[in-house]
């Protein structure tokens, strides 16, 4: 910026005027600037806002609770209002709504009725004396209202004036005046816990006080002690809450845990006999150097290869859930041991053999056994872990004895296996676990009798057929082997 030295008077005037001009910005501008350059300090203000909000919410909630407490208190007071007898043993002056002309509270059996008004000094004096003697006691509750009560006489120049404040000095402190309206008080005998139906009405500019009975009171109402009040309050609350609880319990029964009611855990074991279905695949690409010499062997499930069935075992646990009266679904985990055997002849020395695979080059493996029947036995085993998923349907039965049929699909993982495969010429067995398919799928059907031995224990027994849906070997191997088992499934189920 260069200083303009060519200013004329007008420009100078403009500059001077503009430089003199000032405006006071609003404070919020500074706060905005401050928050912008001190962003971290925003948090205390936010914390304060959060605190204030929390406090407001808390107060609101507490007020609502107070209101409900007040409602309960009203209920308690209404309850009190129904009480008709005082629990005090003392004689209490009970003022009846029958007017007499005397003011004598010593006559307990004939309750004294006060005159409607006291106009003379003597009457006032008598009243004061009686008040002083405790026959009829009044005291003031200064907290109620500070009204001046002028006690004066009519027709007598000796005016007796006094204020409400003076009365307690002469009166029993056990009682108090309870403000009923602006200028009237009801008399409460605090020590007797008894509220009379006597009212003192004092008009500010009047020269007399009026003592009369409140027509709304038919009889004295005993005020319960604080402890009694609390006890009754508790009783009321407990009764109220109790009935509410009972009603709520009747109408709002707790939700039943369906999982526990309909679910159960089953443990089972299935000893079985296992065998295989063996057949040759047809694939496009074959090794040109491998001769197909199996045509005379007959491999489709017969025993020409000297295979024998063997002991298999299935162990598992399943979760069952009854979706309806007759149907339940199940899933779980099981371990399968599969096996079948082959009578073979031991070669005594390893021999390299070619395997019939779909790759362009033959797969060679080492063999110790000839497939010709001999005195040796090889076990074609696998260890599998499966997750059966299926359902059972009740066919018949009621009560403790029922008949079910069920089926499952069992995704299976082959943990390990012997992997015995035939050579391409069918003359040798070679162990080639690399050709084993790791993932497989089994299917099973079963039928079983279910016997409910106890409310929580059910036993099952029945036949089961399990069949392997895919070949034990990978597709590149030219032969397919599918295992199957037939056994008896024994199980025991327990509820939760």
């Amino acid at each position: 910026m260069e200083d303009n030295n060519y200013r004329d008077d007008f420009e100078l005037f403009l500059k001077e005027s503009a430089d003199e001009f000032r405006m006071i910005p609003s404070r919020k501008i500074w706060y905005s600037i401050y928050n912008n350059i001190h962003p971290a300090r925003r948090w205390p203000s936010m914390a304060v806002c959060l605190l204030i909000l929390t406090a407001v919410l808390y107060i609101g909630i507490e007020n609502n609770n107070s209101l409900s407490n007040a409602a309960r208190k009203n209920a308690a007071e209404n309850f009190n209002a129904n009480l008709t007898e005082s629990k005090s043993d003392k004689n209490i002056t009970l003022l009846q709504p029958f007017a007499t002309n005397s003011f004598d509270t010593k006559e307990k059996n004939n309750p004294t009725v006060l005159d409607e008004s006291i106009n003379t000094f003597e009457e006032i004096q008598t009243l004061s004396t009686q008040l002083q003697n405790g026959d009829v006691s009044f005291s003031t509750n200064l907290n109620v209202k500070s009204n001046l009560l002028n006690i004066m006489t009519i027709g007598n120049n000796d005016a007796v004036t006094g204020s409400v404040k003076d009365l307690p000095n002469k009166l029993s402190p056990n009682n108090k005046l309870k403000l009923v309206s602006r200028n009237s008080f009801s008399v409460v005998d605090e020590s007797e816990n008894f509220e009379t139906n006597t009212k003192i009405i004092a008009e500010e500019n009047e020269t007399a006080i009026t003592i009369q009975q409140d027509p709304t009171f038919e009889k004295g109402i005993a005020l319960k002690s604080k402890n009694d009040n609390d006890k009754d309050l508790k009783n009321i609350l407990s009764t109220t809450e109790k009935s509410w609880n009972e009603d709520y319990a009747f109408r709002n029964k707790p939700a039943i845990n369906k999982l526990k009611q309909n679910g159960s855990i089953s443990y089972y074991i299935t000893p079985s006999l296992g065998y295989r279905k063996f057949e040759k695949r047809d694939y496009v690409k074959r090794s040109a150097n491998i001769a197909n010499s199996f045509s005379n062997v007959g491999l489709s499930g017969d025993r020409t290869l000297n295979d024998n069935d063997a002991f298999n075992l299935e162990l598992g646990a399943a979760f069952q859930y009854a979706v309806s009266k007759n149907v339940r679904v199940k899933t779980g985990l099981q371990v399968n041991y599969t096996n079948y055997t082959s009578n073979v002849t031991s070669l005594g020395h390893p021999s390299q053999v070619a395997l019939d695979v779909s790759s362009s080059r033959p797969l060679y493996s080492s063999s110790n056994y000839s497939s010709a029947a001999g005195s040796s036995l090889i076990n074609k085993t696998t260890i599998q872990i499966a997750m059966p998923v299926g359902a059972d349907i009740k066919i018949a039965g009621t009560g403790n004895l029922k008949w079910y049929v069920g089926a499952t699909l069992q995704p299976t993982f082959v943990v390990k296996g012997s992997g015995y495969v035939l050579s391409s010429d069918g003359a040798h067995y070679s162990s080639e676990p690399s050709l084993l398919r790791k993932l497989n799928l089994n299917s099973a059907i079963e039928s079983f009798i279910s016997f409910k031995a106890s409310p929580s224990v059910t036993m099952t027994v029945g036949p089961q057929l399990r069949y392997q849906l895919f070949s034990s070997f990978k597709n590149e191997y030219n032969y397919s082997e599918k295992l199957y088992n037939i056994g008896v499934k024994l199980g025991i189920s327990t509820t939760f």
Binding site: F10, L14, I29, H38
Partner: protein, 193 residues
């Protein structure tokens, strides 16, 4: 708090020093912004943005010249940047705007002199007002104004000439100045809240 103390404290991000600096210079700077802005709210926005820049860039102040002058330059540049976001400064636009503009005595209320003058300046079309503010009051050259507003230097000169004539006409009509002597009727500085 002296200016040195304010400066040192502000650079150290001391809130009290920053507030002191703001309190000292914000009234005049708001006046600067008010001359550029369309309304007081716009002026306060300009002031806020300007001071944020000042506080974040104060460490670049090299004590070359008065602090107020440095602050003022930042404020003016901030005002221009904000105006440029919302308006293109072109001769064509301003000419159209200017030709449609007519002064009216009723447009300027009777107030103290400084504010009167400023209010009269604010009555000018945006382009005129900006160039006049920058040249006559802030002291920028037409070349600098051209760079700031992305206009030609000649445009700045012509804009200023027209702005000056128009403002003079307004001030004379309002009896704020005497045409021949440029004298004013009031001699007091008015601070307005």
């Amino acid at each position: 708090m002296t200016e040195e103390q304010m400066l040192a404290g502000t650079i150290k991000n001391n809130a009290a020093a920053q507030e002191a600096l703001y309190d000292r210079y914000s009234p005049r700077m708001l006046g600067v912004c008010y001359r550029f802005a369309k309304s007081r709210e716009d002026a306060e926005d300009m002031l806020q943005e300007g001071f944020i820049k000042i506080f974040t860039q104060l460490h670049q102040y090299r004590n070359e010249g008065a602090l107020e002058g440095w602050i003022r330059r930042i404020i003016v540049h901030t005002c221009i940047n904000i105006l440029k976001k919302n308006k293109k400064f072109s001769e064509t636009v301003d000419l159209i705007h200017a030709h449609a503009f007519h002064t009216n005595e009723d447009m300027v209320p009777s107030i103290m002199q400084a504010k009167q003058v400023v209010e009269c300046i604010r009555l000018l079309p945006l382009g005129y007002k900006t160039v006049l503010n920058l040249y006559a009051i802030e002291g920028y050259s037409h070349k600098e104004i051209g760079n700031m507003l992305d206009i030609e230097e000649s445009t700045s000169r012509s804009q200023y000439t027209r702005a000056k004539a128009m403002l003079e006409e307004i001030l004379v009509k309002k009896h704020i100045i005497d045409k021949s002597q440029y004298k004013n009727n009031y001699g007091k500085t008015n601070t307005i809240k």
